[in-house]
């Protein structure tokens, strides 16, 4: 039962992470290869503040704020770049943030990492046990899902899609593509920060090694596998991949084979990504046009 709950918590955290990336990649067409940076900023901010005995509420709020601010600061120059160049800029940023975690020892304790991150207390209720933490992440996942759904279904989300489809045509219709992209990027970063904070308080130990490019690839794979540009795709993708990844850990292999497990998992992920690109690039769930609009009745 505990194992199952653990899988669920991990899964929910990655759902939040993937939903935030889906807003950028799936709806706005921003291929962000440094998304893990915001996950890391969220995790470190909340962890550091609570370790210094600030309340969890403050830690969380600051985690979201800082992720958003860094998203804004990164977006400002990099969103002027198009396509591949934007991807490379974010890739660089992702590595840069990891180097900061690793080398700014006075703040992050460097490669030693931060142990003993306290379990969160929200409005004087302590989420200490596994079922409690499960409920906490479930709540945040629901909030994220609903918030992003409202955004995507709104006229705002429609402009994001138009920018994804044809930025120049969108500008010809009077939409300020740059500004919409920044907004989308900041919102995406904020929710990645939320996922990071929840993850930090769950594992209670974070170190720079948790925020490598592999994490970005994993969450990218979740979005692509599930179906980018769909509301439910990231949920399905996260459920499949996280259950697969985490259950490998509990496979009872003879110890001499244990060391092959991690590379094998990477190989399977890589093969899966290639397979998806070749045979079902749209993901398991296919994007379809919306039939009914938020708050409007069918007029027929």
């Amino acid at each position: 039962m505990d194992l199952f709950l653990h899988l669920c918590v991990m899964c929910l955290i990655y759902i939040i992470f993937a939903l935030s990336l889906n807003l950028e990649i799936g709806y706005t067409g921003l291929f962000n290869f440094g998304h893990v940076a915001f996950f890391g900023i969220g995790a470190y901010t909340s962890a550091l503040l609570t370790l210094h005995h600030f309340p969890f509420e403050l830690g969380l709020v600051m985690a979201l704020t800082l992720s958003g601010i860094f998203g804004f600061l990164l977006g400002l120059p990099s969103l002027r770049l198009r396509g591949d160049f934007f991807g490379i800029a974010t890739l660089g940023f992702g590595e840069m943030i990891r180097m900061v975690f690793q080398n700014e020892v006075w703040l992050t304790k460097g490669p030693m990492g931060l142990p003993g991150i306290p379990k969160p207390t929200l409005f004087s209720f302590r989420f200490a046990t596994l079922p409690q933490y499960f409920l906490l992440t479930l709540g945040f996942t629901a909030i994220t899902f609903l918030f992003l759904r409202i955004l995507i279904r709104s006229p705002f989300g429609r402009v994001l899609k138009a920018i994804r489809e044809d930025e120049i045509a969108a500008e010809a219709l009077g939409k300020n593509a740059y500004r919409f992209k920044i907004k989308s990027f900041v919102v995406g970063s904020i929710f990645a920060g939320l996922a990071g904070a929840l993850w930090g308080h769950y594992t209670t130990f974070i170190s720079p090694n948790d925020f490598t490019l592999l994490e970005t690839i994993l969450v990218l794979l979740i979005v692509v596998l599930g179906g980018k540009g769909t509301e439910w795709g990231p949920l399905l993708g996260a459920a499949l991949l996280i259950f697969f990844q985490e259950s490998l850990r509990f496979l009872r292999l003879p110890p001499e084979y244990g060391r092959y497990l991690a590379p094998l998992q990477q190989m399977i992920f890589g093969a899966l990504l290639i397979f998806m690109m070749l045979f079902r690039p749209e993901g398991l769930i296919k994007e379809r046009g919306r039939r009914v609009y938020a708050g409007t009745q069918r007029v027929e």
Binding site: I150, L151, S154, P155, F156, R158, V159, K161, A162, R164, E165, D166, I168, A169, A170, E171, A172, L173, G174, K175, N176, A177, F180, K183, V187, G229, E287, G289, R290, R291, Y293, A294, G295, T296, Q297, V299, E300
Partner: protein, 249 residues
């Protein structure tokens, strides 16, 4: 309505547009013709801010608009189309139209939270308008279909309908009837003429002389970036300089 003063643009050593000046009157349909590579599309790109001017000034409704960004010019009521149809392929026909209205409240993030009623009302109004428009152009059965699944002619028609939704004061059309069948050309011409009756101003690049003769009040002729002639369609047809430019004799 639109005044162009001495627009010039060179790409490397090639003078794409040379000292082009013109005045386009309100509620007129003005044509722009010329051989391939004569600088017509470049001129459009210069007016709408997609390419930076080397020299010259653009005034729209007496306001100087050169140097503004494309979306700023579009939101002032001067909207263009492109030579190849540019619908948003993976958005539905309906979404393509709903996107077009300018200054939508629901495109602002804060309004989604604080002005929900207004956003909803606005969206309902646009939806009604879009649906009646879709019905008019005969695409109602396809309204929830991705635009990429439409035929090229239907996409062009959708693009015209989108302009109608955007409701700008002046529209620049880059070859609206290129590559589509005569029946569809008729529909698109009807669209243009209806919108003119509503008080819109047009500037049209077109190779199809039938369209020029039927629609345009005034025509500019461009060759090697220079304006070689202007006049009513009848005058242009008989102008020896125009015939020379086209036939190269």
């Amino acid at each position: 309505m639109l005044e162009l003063r001495g627009l010039s643009k060179a790409f490397g050593g090639i003078q794409a547009v040379v000292d082009f000046s013109a005045r386009l009157e309100k509620n007129r349909i003005t044509g722009l013709i010329g051989p391939n590579g004569s600088g017509k599309t470049t001129l459009f790109n210069l007016i709408t801010g997609f390419i930076k001017l080397d020299r010259g000034e653009v005034f729209f409704k007496k306001e100087k608009i050169d140097g503004l960004l494309p979306h700023e010019i579009a939101s002032r009521g001067l909207v263009r189309t492109f030579q190849l149809s540019r619908v948003f392929p993976r958005m539905t026909v309906l979404e393509n139209l709903l996107l077009a209205p300018q200054g939508q409240m629901g495109e602002k993030l804060w309004a989604l939270g604080l002005k929900r009623e207004r956003v909803r009302d606005e969206e309902n109004r646009n939806l009604k308008k879009a649906l009646s428009l879709i019905e008019k152009i005969g695409l109602l059965p396809l309204k929830d279909e991705f635009a990429e699944n439409l035929s090229y002619g239907q996409q062009k028609l959708l693009e015209m309908a989108r302009l109608f939704m955007a409701n700008p004061e002046m529209i620049l059309l880059d070859e609206p009837t290129a590559g589509i069948n005569p029946l569809m050309i008729r529909k698109i011409m009807d669209f243009i003429l209806t919108m003119r009756e509503m008080g819109k101003t047009f500037f049209i690049i077109e190779h199809n002389m039938d369209v020029i003769i039927e629609c345009c009040d005034w025509v500019f002729v461009l060759d090697h970036g220079e304006k070689i002639s202007e006049g009513t369609p009848e005058e242009i047809q008989n102008d020896p300089r125009v015939i020379e430019a086209y036939l190269g004799t």
